[in-house]
Amino acid sequence: MCDIIWCKKCNTVNYLDPYCFWNWEGKVNCAECGEVYYIHMIQGHMYKGPEPRPGEKPDIHPLYADKPYDGYTNYPPGVEGKTRPYNCTPRHIYLGRADQRKFSIRNRPMRAWPQPPSAGIAGSQGFYWDIKKLSPEVWEEYMEKIKKGEVRDW
């Protein structure tokens, strides 16, 4: 169950997520034009509203919004002042770009980046990652880390 506020002023659909608005009373802004609406939801149903309350301050932003007549241009969650920031938005470290670490948090090497082909017959592999032979530059870096005392037990 999820309700929306369809702002007739700017034809924007503002989505009200059930986790926040399931039982909720207060004012929500339109993400596009900033028009403030009063709503009261009970058990996921719109009990009162949406009534425009121009000039008042919103209590909360919608989760996200889009404009169906405008090719579904949208405001994703977490747009400053328009939609609600929430803790599950991708964090700075998860940008969809692989952040390939070669070392674990205690600075020992992990085989966690694309490897050159190294299998034998029929895809068979040895039991041991000979890092010194297969990735000499990582080995070098590891030796540096040991020298600097950055390699820890925990």
Binding site: I42, Q43, H45, M46, Y47, K48, G49
Partner: protein, 78 residues
Amino acid sequence: MEHAKDLKPHEFLAKILVPEKQTNHICWSCKYFKPVLKGSKFPPADLIGWCKKIHWPFYWCVSEYDVVKSCYAYEKLE
């Protein structure tokens, strides 16, 4: 939703969540009753709903056939 303006929250919910059955149980006006909604296929056919109170932490299945006329846990919806 203009028509909802004059309704109290529980009246509004009763309007939205239409129960499957209508019986003489006192439970219909009780705060702790949770009705079987219209179109629900799952619960046994003779249930009108569940009481959230008398067997807490369990829902007691209120049957159509034992008509509750009075109950120690009854509290009228305000």
